[in-house]
Symmetry: D2
Subunit: 346 residues, 4 copies
């Protein structure tokens, strides 16, 4: 059987570039189309893109002629790294035309019939897509900061129950795209505000950790308070988390719960699934973005400093690669999950 | 009346350099002696110090011959920026010999008879020093991270009562002295651990906000949970704070409480007292260390993003200059307070 | 006599902000008008500007209503920090209307009848302006990198004669304005290219060090080769320079030549003139931008490591504050020079 | 045939860690011994090392017991990342005892009978080792900054002849080891001095590009002037180079000379040899350390901006990975070269 033809929407952006990069040599998907704004359309990808990745542009992508978001596409699966200012309508149009849109954009994440999925945590939510009014479908992954929080909370919430969460993030500049954050603003600085980010972190994890019930998601019943900061880091979001649990547990128990966690993508062997979705560090000064962001090829959620909290129950540090596991890699894993469940041929 | 002769202990270190810098042209104090480890002793200060400040070494300090911590000193007041590994015994010895040691070191801060003072918050605690078994005295300022937290909590606790605090810090490298943090560890990175820092932040504010009762301090009765991180910032500690209050209050009320706050140092006009001890920002992305660290000549506590917290009551961002208000400037203000109360001549 | 009313063109940009900042409390000039693009016009300055300076917006500027570059202005002197894309025509129009335009933009610098001036080096070139076909005049300062190179070369060229120069720069991000350089491009990086910069550095110093002869400037007769790099520094351009001299000289001689240099602005006491226009460092690892950029309130040219060059004659490191002495401060000093020479009333 | 047992001297340092990292899965060498200072000796490597690499410690190295530099070793080849303060005597002692010491330390590089080798440029120099008075041998690679300069100069010197070179470096902090450069010194800064570095860059390339004649190396007969700076980059040294040629040539010719260059390691297929030892970039803002340092797994010399120089003949930018091609990878390639020539069994 041949590979499934796929496209990348927003292919010249930071997430789009990571998608193009990660799709080189993919066992199931073959990049056939790159799509971007009118400004880039009709030019070879190598000229349209301001390539920021460490490797060269994959040979199979260099000469693709960029299509505009108004053109018909031939690919079955469309990975979307579109900017939120345009993603809403474009993704809907393509879903209506029969494509499966695997989106990293925020626009449809909280729609009741759109699955917001981390395959290790709530792969069953993918079933939601069947109730969408489209010939195709839209499935989404979370905001990059949400990803690592929800992944770390998942196993804990399932076994012990979470009552409340305080989280303070220290986020990398690549999370804001390109040109994104001005160097004037971030060199030697901390910017204690990221527009819309706290709202996403306070709501998205509750949908992801929610329960599918009668064709809709009942959100998890706890409260999250988020404070989001931008720091002078290239890749890797770090999060300081405090948890109030419904069932008390020792830090050692939480650590072994997380270290031993394996999910459905690991069981069925999805190609992009990390062997260890959560890596727990014993060292007291880890994880660190500059040291640990590439663990499991950027697909790990790194957790450390799991210890008692004098105010709540447990404190810990969570970190992961914001444009891989937090964006492009998450989308590809979602597509693999969708394919593995046989939904693509539905 | 002439100026009071003062010395700086640990004068070659980062805090010591700031003390030397801030004491140039002081209206009440005159730097007469610089003291450092045996290695630096007997050399002119200009040669012994690896000067890291933006100005040149003050002319009055350049040619002072560095004394060792074992020598007798003639100055009435000794400002101590000594490393904690030696500060304990050295400071005691000098206090016993009749000097007033105004210390930035952690060693004696939590001693029951040692005042741990922020003059705007608990200047009355200075009275504790009278019960010390020394001919002189030891008075201390807090850890640099504690300073800004305690300053921001002070007016809130007095009026509304605090029940619990979550704080996550993003701390500058100068807080670790010199050479301190290796560039290999911090460039493009976040280190989610600072040895001993969380313990200090969880205890020192309770002493500062405590009540003097029968010659001892009854600590404030709330709980603090701290998570301390090092980031790639030169000067300026940023803190994300969530507060649970005993008396509910709107964010606007808390903001005006802080913006309007003036303390005893402002009333009596201590020379180093900032006109506004707390500056409240309306902009949603402030304060920022690279922009705001020099407000009030580095003596301000900058507060912003005061807003409701979905888990607790109030969230806010606190920031200040860790080696000025958080260390050297705090010590000098403490000495000014001690002098203004007439304790020096006791 | 009252102060001279002045305006800042491009007042919301990085150089414009520095001009507004430096003009607070100026002894001769009073900021009356702020001018910017159509987008900012008709709004109070405090709202139109994205203020990036360490101090608050000067009280006298906060409430000024921003004018557009098409409006008539009442000020005698217009300081221009306009973007080069619009500066050419706008500055000409205002000069024609009778204003003295003191410009930091590159557009007219190399025009034969426009003085390109560093008052310490070639204040006599200001006479050129008399031959301009305007009711007013245009006078310019150099590119920020040129400034420090030309200042350091000036005394050497006059006494020893220069034959050739190699210079490699390491330039701060503020030189590119705001938002300017993306953090994605510069965090932990060096970008070995700055558009148009090498051409400016290879030509502007020759005009500045040229000789006024019969109403025109005969450029200095040596050759410069420049390589320009952007580095992760906020303020302060560092330049590694190698010189081939016409008259051989020892490094010590060059050092004393530079350290002892004083120019006409120092003689006549222009308000913004640094006491020491060139500061020579003895330490082998200075000057450094993060340590020395504020020497002489940002108006110094810092020089260090003056030593023999195995290929040419002398090697040295030159550094200065790119938005003060390299831009806004240079423009203000030029206006002070123009005023001191009595040209304003011509 | 089994793999050759090898040891790493200075295995806990930055270069030592890179050696341990690169030797995992090597086709010809097997890491059997790790050697460090007395302080680390007798402890398992995983505990003795403060591991700073992105991957985990290779499983085969984790449990090795660290030996001291005074112990006998069983490995044939010893890779040395020892600090220069001890490398001289230790390396000699092991060479005398029969080991082949492949060293990254500076101590013996300029010894007349010690090969200083870049296999693509002067693999024939390895023959020098036969004249050493040791049962074993010492072979060395260059200083990290020298590496990229000599590699780029090699093909040019051979075909066109070089007469003079100006080079200004912008070097990464990992070049100084750990803890190495203090964050206080380098955040947002440029330090225009690296002790001993300019001397190495002005001499080592001449030996490498020299001619083997009658059992000794006649150094290349041109002059180099180097200015070395430290910048806030993690990995990757960038160098701005100007060349005076004996035979004039156009920039395009020099570019094609470098882009087409292949050496002996490429011909014989040494395992660590990059496919393209020199990568030439057409983009005008490349190479950049943060984008290009991993080209050819860190073994490439990246060259860009090849263009005419108004003072000399050709200007260009050279960049490479200082701890891979500039240190650990260079040593391993040297050992592979030594092995391929059959010298190991001599």
């Amino acid at each position: 059987m041949g590979k499934i033809p796929v496209a990348v929407l927003g292919a010249t952006g930071m997430v789009g570039q990571k998608l193009v990069h990660l799709l080189r040599d993919h066992p199931s998907f073959e990049l056939r189309e790159v799509v971007a704004s009118e400004r880039s359309a009709a030019r070879p990808y190598r000229e349209a893109v301001n390539w920021k990745q460490e490797d060269f542009i994959p040979p199979g992508a260099r000469d693709l002629i960029v299509k505009s978001t108004e053109e018909r596409l031939e690919s079955r699966i469309l990975f979307s790294g579109l900017d939120a200012s345009v993603a809403g309508a474009v993704e809907e149009a393509y879903a209506r035309a029969g494509h499966v849109v695997v989106s990293n954009s925020r626009n449809h994440r909280m729609d009741p019939d759109v699955p917001l999925v981390i395959p290790e945590i709530n792969h069953d939510h993918l079933a939601l897509a069947a109730s969408q009014p489209y010939k195709g479908a839209i499935i989404t992954n979370s905001n990059c900061s949400t990803m690592f929080l929800a992944m770390a909370l998942g196993p804990i919430h399932r076994e012990l129950g979470i009552e409340a969460v305080h989280v303070t993030t220290m986020q990398a500049v690549t999370g804001a795209g390109y040109p994104g954050v001005s160097s004037v603003d971030i060199l030697g600085n901390v910017v204690p505000y990221i527009g819309g980010e706290e709202e996403k972190m306070e709501s998205e994890p509750l949908k992801i950790l929610g329960r599918l019930d009668g064709g809709r998601v009942v959100p998890a019943d706890f409260t999250i308070s988020a404070q989001c900061n931008r720091v002078a880091v290239f890749d890797g979001h770090t999060e300081a988390v405090s948890l109030k649990l419904r069932t008390r547990a020792r830090a050692e128990h939480v650590a072994s719960l997380l270290a031993g966690f394996r999910g459905w993508p690991q069981e069925v062997g999805l190609p992009s699934a990390p062997e260890r979705p959560i890596i727990v560090f014993d060292e007291n000064d880890r994880p660190q973005p500059a040291r640990d962001v590439w663990k499991e090829r950027g697909m790990a959620t790194c957790v450390g400093r799991i210890r008692p909290c004098p105010v709540f129950d447990i404190k810990m540090v969570v970190m992961g690669h914001n444009t891989i596991r937090g964006a492009a890699g998450a989308a590809i894993l979602n597509a693999e999950a969708y394919l593995a469940k046989g939904y693509l041929d539905r």
